[in-house]
């Protein structure tokens, strides 16, 4: 065994075990969601779970491959991977197959792959490599701008493909930037802007502007006024007003009808039980009917064929909620949190900046998917179709998450080797 090969002991077995648990549990959930008494054959290749099984085998093979290659490869070819995923994204415009109103798929035989999924690890690698370079100081505004550009490029292309959900995932990289030195107040401002944006959709922008003005006047009345403070406050109110008005404009004039509906349904302004709202209502019934302990595996009635075709992809959590109840759901959330925590600990213990940034990218992406996907099935987030990592049906997603994770496991394994070399 050469020095470059990871020793079995240096692989993080906890993460690897959790990965296996997730993938197998996911397969069972997919099986349950399309299960019917007349056709219980799990190896049926025409069914989702049959295909998923194949994808799991492919993913496992690829994961093993990643564990065996030299970890320097990822560092050396980080920009290369990034370039390839960008090219793949662009290729969809030329040879993309249209599926469900989105042209973000490339068809290979009877399988389709979605380059948007793979763009995540390409971006994570490129960002990690750029920020870990020599003489790179995140305090420099130019560094900030280039980092943002690395993230924004694939995001913009995916937005153009009409895949809002996948594009939003790239927002999770802001957590990485935060960890690497982006000031916290920027994130707070970001969240505040998001809250203002949601308010702009809920109430007339005029009322918000009046409200902001009132708050500003009250604020100025209470503090000791300096000229700077007055100008600053007025400037902020003007900026916020412009922002709120433009949100309203974009919502009314730029967004497409189905996106408006989804947002309206989420905000409770509109109950659309036929479209997006139907899925959410069914989802709530399914989860709600699970009760404390659930109906038992394959005993769920709500999930089967409810959300065609999303029930095995975006709404997979319903199966857990219905068949395993609160206990199962709680367990799932706890294990997922354990998983994230473990990965974060692993990221923090890296000595190499590249490894750490990559690790945080992974954690951020996984968290963002969890946040949106589970929130959506619980009716707390808009119905933007992004999968639940390792659980949802879908080859591209599973492959992409596997690659993302295993690269990090490989990087981490080498850290242990490095450590031993120092000893």
């Amino acid at each position: 065994m050469t020095q470059q090969q990871p020793k079995p002991a240096s692989i993080d077995w906890l993460v690897l075990t959790l990965y296996c648990v997730f993938v197998i549990a996911g397969l069972l959930c997919i099986y349950a969601s399309v299960y019917s008494e007349t056709n219980p054959d799990i190896y049926d290749m025409d069914k989702n779970y049959g295909k998923q099984l194949l994808w799991i085998v492919v993913s496992a093979f690829l994961g093993l491959l990643i564990l065996l290659v030299d970890e320097k490869l990822f560092y050396a070819f980080a920009y290369g991977f990034y370039g390839i995923t960008i090219l793949m994204l662009l290729a969809t415009f030329a040879i993309g197959a249209e599926i469900k109103g989105s042209s973000s798929w490339i068809r290979i035989g009877s399988f389709q792959i979605q380059p948007a999924e793979f763009a995540k690890f390409g971006t994570a690698l490129a960002l990690a490599k750029y920020l870990s370079g020599y003489n790179i100081d995140f305090k420099n505004w130019k560094v900030k701008a280039i980092s943002m550009a690395i993230i924004a490029l694939p995001m913009a292309i995916i937005l153009l493909q009409n895949e809002t959900g996948s594009a939003l995932v790239f927002a999770s990289f802001s957590l990485v930037l935060y960890r690497e030195g982006l000031p916290g107040w920027l994130l707070v401002v970001g969240v505040l802007l998001a809250v203002l944006g949601v308010m702009a959709l809920l109430i007339k922008p005029l009322y918000i502007i009046i409200g902001l003005a009132v708050i500003a006047i009250a604020f100025l009345a209470m503090v000791r006024r300096t000229q700077l403070l007055v100008f600053l406050t007025i400037g902020m109110v003007i900026f916020a007003s412009a922002y709120v008005s433009s949100i309203d404009y974009v919502f009314e004039n730029v967004m497409q009808a189905h996106q408006r509906t989804r947002i309206n349904v989420l905000l409770g302004k509109e109950v659309d039980l036929k479209g997006a709202g139907y899925n959410v209502q069914q989802s709530l019934i399914a989860i709600g009917s699970g009760g404390p302990l659930g109906k038992g595996f394959l005993e769920g009635t709500q999930n089967k064929f409810r959300f065609v075709p999303e029930q095995s992809t975006d709404f997979i959590f319903c199966t857990i909620g219905e068949e395993f109840g609160f206990l199962g759901s709680f367990l799932f959330i706890s294990i997922y949190m354990l998983f994230l925590w473990r990965l974060m600990v692993m990221a923090e213990r890296q000595r190499n900046k590249f490894n750490r940034i990559y690790g945080y990218s992974l954690v951020s992406i996984l968290f963002f998917h969890f946040l949106i996907n589970i929130g959506m099935t619980l009716g707390l987030m808009p119905v933007i179709g992004i999968p639940l990592p390792f659980f949802s049906y879908g080859g591209s997603a599973l492959l992409s998450f596997t690659i993302l994770l295993f690269i990090f496991i490989r990087l981490d394994a080498n850290r242990v080797n490095e450590l031993k070399n120092f000893d």
Binding site: L175, Y178, R179, G184, A257, H258, V271, L273, K274, G275, Y278, Q281, Q282, L284, I285, I287, G288, S289, G290, G291, P292, K295, T301, Q302, F305, R306, V308, G321, G325, F326, S329, F330, I333, S334, Y336, M337, L340, W341, M344, E348, F367, F370, L371, I374, G375, L378, L380
Partner: protein, 621 residues
């Protein structure tokens, strides 16, 4: 140090979100009352409530279209359990193979979902429905939904009312999920243009059913249910009695009639002949009937009054008289001699025998071809304009202000523009600056390339009757008792011809009926102003054309009649118009029974009359 704090903050955010989700799960799965019922294996089922389609009435509140119940059999595949297929097939009257095929077909339909009801059999007969109702509980997953289909009280006005049919896949896609397979939608006529008003809004009821598809109650006490909103009642502008008479007069003829109330632009009657019985588009055989009508060489589905362009023939002389005066090249006193027609160089346009020379009013009364060739020549070769092209463009603008060569904006689907050639059209044929009035002289007497739809003819008549303006013709008078909301139907569109030029022309039109070419149309006591047209055309015998309005002062009706390949305007078109004017103004048409009989018996379709009970069995010719 800072990064450690940041790590803690991030971890804190993660745990906070997880905590929120756990709380949400707690409420959903353990505390929320409304999901307790759902915990009994209930399934949310969506039931559509179909609204009644709006009724159609004529201007006098005479009911034209109403609704009739039909029974459609729906299947929710997921809920079909323990079905006795043999018994089921027997009740419905299909074989087992058909049953299997039917299911295969349903599965391929757009919007198919195993949990959603799909149409299994459309429009069950009453007998089948009754038998099915008795056995409903044996056939789990099947359900009969009551919908309404159209029923037409009269066989008239088929083209105006139009028909409804099932939505196509394309419409379903475009409707953003509102329409479902098997829904009805207006395909033509008023049913199409006023689909939004007539169609109403479908309602939805969400019901929880158990795994044996027994209803367990409403979902969340009907919080998400929507009520069906019935379609609105629409009053058409047509007069059913007038429409009926017109269609009888036009039977066995090919052509159109359009009658308009000049002061309002309301279409009193609009006939497209041959027509068809609107009830053919009702019921299970609507598709077959549609194909039959589509294949009929006389094109009964073609809406001639609004779409078919005809050369207007001599009625165009009325328009030219007005434009000539406006262009200051024609005065009431202007007289031209007629020597058996118009002669200029080698060009000859024939005319019939009449007194000569005549001033304007007399020339209209006898419809002198030579006179109006001169008028056209002076208009187009007007030295006031630098080029012939400019003079011609001016003429084109005048005609456009009469509503010719463009869509008027009637509220019916399929309106045509007609055709008035532009200067560029002649440039293409003759070359730029290589044509002038004499090259295009036939336009002056309403021949040549000119194509005017009957609706445009009637509209021009209304304009003359109004002494200078028209209101866009429309077919819907009121919706739910409120005037047609389209503001366009209230606007006076003034023509480019001054009101002062109309009286002499109208006097000429009066002479046409009193002692001119359309003497046959005269009705004692009613001052009718009209003009005949006998339009040459490449399809055979001349078209018989007449347009008129009455009474002369304060006109109540303007009408245009076109009978294809029927000969002189005075032979067919004028009597038909006269009878319809009489009917509308006096509410009866029995003063001239000989005329009524001749018109109704006239068969100009050049084919033997088949067993049509409404038509006379013997042909006159």
């Amino acid at each position: 140090m800072e990064s450690q704090i940041k790590q803690k903050i991030l971890l804190g955010v993660f745990i906070f979100i997880a905590f929120v989700y756990v709380i949400r799960l707690l409420t959903l799965q353990i505390f929320d009352e409304s999901y307790i019922r759902s915990a009994q294996n209930n399934v949310l089922q969506e039931q559509t409530i179909y609204p009644a389609r709006g009724l159609l009435m004529d201007r006098n509140n005479d009911l034209l279209v109403y609704n009739d119940n039909i029974y459609d059999l729906f299947v929710t595949p997921e809920q079909v359990k323990n079905l006795d297929t043999n018994a089921f097939c027997e009740v419905i009257g299909i074989t087992k193979q058909e049953f299997i095929d039917r299911f295969e077909k349903i599965k391929r339909q757009k919007g198919y979902a195993i949990y959603r009801p799909s149409v299994f059999e459309k429009q069950l007969t009453m007998a089948t429905y009754a038998r099915f109702q008795e056995m409903l509980f044996d056939f789990q997953g099947f359900d009969v939904v009551v919908r309404t289909d159209r029923k037409y009280k009269y066989k008239n006005a088929a083209h105006i009312m139009g028909y409804i049919g099932e939505v196509t896949e394309k419409m379903i896609e475009n409707s953003n999920g509102y329409y479902r397979m098997g829904d009805f939608i207006g395909i033509s006529g008023v049913e199409r243009t006023y689909e939004k008003e007539l169609g109403g809004v479908k309602g939805v009821r969400y019901v929880l059913v158990d795994s044996k598809s027994r209803a367990q109650g409403r979902y969340k006490d009907g919080e998400f249910d929507t009520v069906a909103v019935a379609g609105k009642k629409i009053n058409l502008t047509i007069d059913q009695k007038l429409q009926e008479l017109g269609e009888q007069l036009m039977q066995n003829k090919i052509g159109s009639v359009v009658a308009i109330e000049p002061s309002s632009g309301e279409i009193l009657s609009m006939i497209s002949s041959p027509t068809y019985d609107p009830n053919l588009f009702v019921g299970r055989d609507r598709g077959n009937h549609y194909m039959e009508l589509l294949r009929d060489p006389s094109k009964p589905l073609f809406n001639r009054p609004i779409a078919a362009p005809y050369p207007p023939g001599s009625i165009f002389k009325v328009i030219m008289s007005l434009i000539g005066q406006q262009e200051q090249v024609l005065y009431p006193s202007t007289a031209y001699g007629c020597y058996g027609g118009f002669n200029s160089g080698g060009l000859h346009v024939g005319c019939h025998a009449h007194g000569s020379p005549l001033p304007l009013q007399g020339a209209i009364a006898v419809s002198c071809n030579a006179y109006f060739c001169h008028v056209y020549r002076t208009v187009v070769n007007n030295p006031k304009y630098r080029k012939v092209e400019d003079a011609y463009n001016k003429l084109y603008d005048h005609l456009a202000s009469f509503g010719m060569g463009r869509k008027l904006g009637v509220d019916l689907y399929g309106e045509g523009t007609g055709f008035v050639p532009k200067a560029t059209y002649y440039d293409k044929i003759y070359g730029r600056n290589h044509w002038q009035a004499l090259t295009t002289i036939s336009l002056g007497i309403g021949q040549g390339e000119l194509g005017i739809t009957p609706l445009q003819m009637a509209n021009a008549t209304a304009l003359v009757a109004n002494r200078g303006y028209y209101i866009t013709p429309h077919i819907v008078k009121s919706i739910e008792g409120k005037k047609n909301p389209n503001p366009e139907y209230n606007v006076k569109h003034w023509s480019t011809v001054d009101t002062s030029y109309f009286p002499v022309v109208i006097n000429g039109m009066e002479d046409v009926v009193n002692h001119g070419t359309a003497y046959i149309a005269k009705i004692p006591g009613i001052a009718i102003c009209g003009k005949t047209g006998t339009a040459q055309n490449p399809h055979g015998k001349d078209h018989s054309i007449f347009f008129a309005f009455a009474p002369k002062d304060n006109p109540k009706i303007a009408i245009a009649v076109v009978v294809e390949n029927a000969g002189f305007g005075a032979t067919w078109a004028a009597p038909i118009a006269s009878l319809m004017i009489e009917q509308y103004l006096t509410k009866k048409h029995d003063t001239r029974p000989y005329l009524v009989e001749r018109m109704m018996k006239g068969n100009l379709t050049h084919k033997p009359i088949l067993n049509d009970s409404t038509a006379t069995k013997t042909s006159k010719h």
